[in-house]
Symmetry: D2
Subunit: 137 residues, 4 copies
């Protein structure tokens, strides 16, 4: 199911010093951590929690990632992570993300990540109907 | 100079998934990253920025750390990092930190870190008088 | 220039505990750190060093990433990072990477990363001819 | 039991780019990750594995840390992590660590970490006698 006009969840925070590297900018792996935190916030905003999802025996695992680095963020900048659900299928979902400068709106990073739904045995499985609440709003 | 009744800066956020380890709890190195972010917030709250400090040619580098791990934090918990300046000397300062559960107030971690003031040449140097503003409030 | 039969650099190490997450496996952002270490090893193997490249005023920055997560690595497993140069253009190069189980050869992760060559001013610039040595072997 | 003349386990690797920060040196939290990898190597060298310890239902968790930062390590430097067991008690053990420049032997970091032995319920428990093999060599 493609999401027309999807809900966008925004989370903002300051760039941490530990997130920079010797080039003086945010290390490129850190954006994946922010994207993940954006997904957590997205689920939280729907009144769910990814922690509950795991307690109920399901896991969402990264499968396919496409990312573009457009501009470099710096320590102490305020950044906003914008996350939305782009597509839901029976056993997978795709989130998209943009990280922007909270002040100017300039885009640092954009990405798309396909996640598979696994059960405790590590097998790809159907997304439980109970998730409809936050998946289809 | 020992700080009697120091100002405490509080910063709160959710535990990120990437910050956990296979034990299911926050990895012990992550608390140092939070403590550092707490110091950034402390300086920001005084109307300064550690980024400005570096631009002006000074660096605060970790020298001596004492940390206690009291309880394990989990993914998605809301935590509060409390940071205060415990002592200021001519060439060094000591920050203290507590990380607590934002809801219950239970303490996960407490630490004390001595930082040295360096110049661009990497030499230990006097803390510039201009910092008085945020150091002695 | 597409590289036919490119040189493959292999680097092996154990998965660190800090690299796992609460799911019990390696966190998906960590593979980018390993890929980067594989590129460092690749350059080192050619008798150069990425540190020297930066000292000479050039930077290679991540621009476009495509990654697939195939299987989950665990703490203490021995993994091998295989990195090769897939393409070199005047102002950019593309590295590819596979992370495999050192014992079984099973593949955990594969990725392709385009890097841009920047100068100190942060402008996209031509790759210096002096790099020919390790770029075209 | 204090260890007189303890066995020292040495592990060497190159500093990864992701381990540096905007100051151009290794971030201070990274040394804890290296110390932990040094403990893993220590246990591995004794023919055990910390992964096996966890599978058998025990966990070693950080309790008390004392660390000194003496010198800053840089990207691509070869570093050696030296780890030894300083003390073993019925429910806890203390590891010590030095990180040195592999070439010059100069010391970057020294630390002491007390770890508690927990069972699956998270209770402090006696170190199993079966561990005698690697604890008392």
């Amino acid at each position: 199911m493609l999401q027309a006009d999807p809900h966008i969840c925004e989370t903002s925070f300051h760039v941490r010093y530990a997130e920079t590297d010797a080039m003086g900018f945010v290390h490129h792996a850190v954006y994946l951590v922010w994207f993940e935190e954006g997904r957590s916030a997205f689920i939280r905003e729907q009144g769910w929690s990814y922690a509950e999802i795991e307690r109920s025996g399901y896991f969402l695992v990264a499968s396919d990632l496409r990312a573009r680095y457009l501009r470099a963020a710096r320590y102490d900048q305020r950044v906003t992570v914008r996350v939305w659900l782009a597509q839901v299928k029976s056993r997978q979902m795709t989130f998209q993300c943009e990280v922007v400068d909270s002040a100017s709106g300039e885009c640092f990073f954009s990405a798309s990540l396909k996640l598979l739904c696994l059960n405790r045995a590590g097998e790809i499985t159907r997304i439980p109907p109970a998730w409809g609440a936050w998946l289809r709003e």
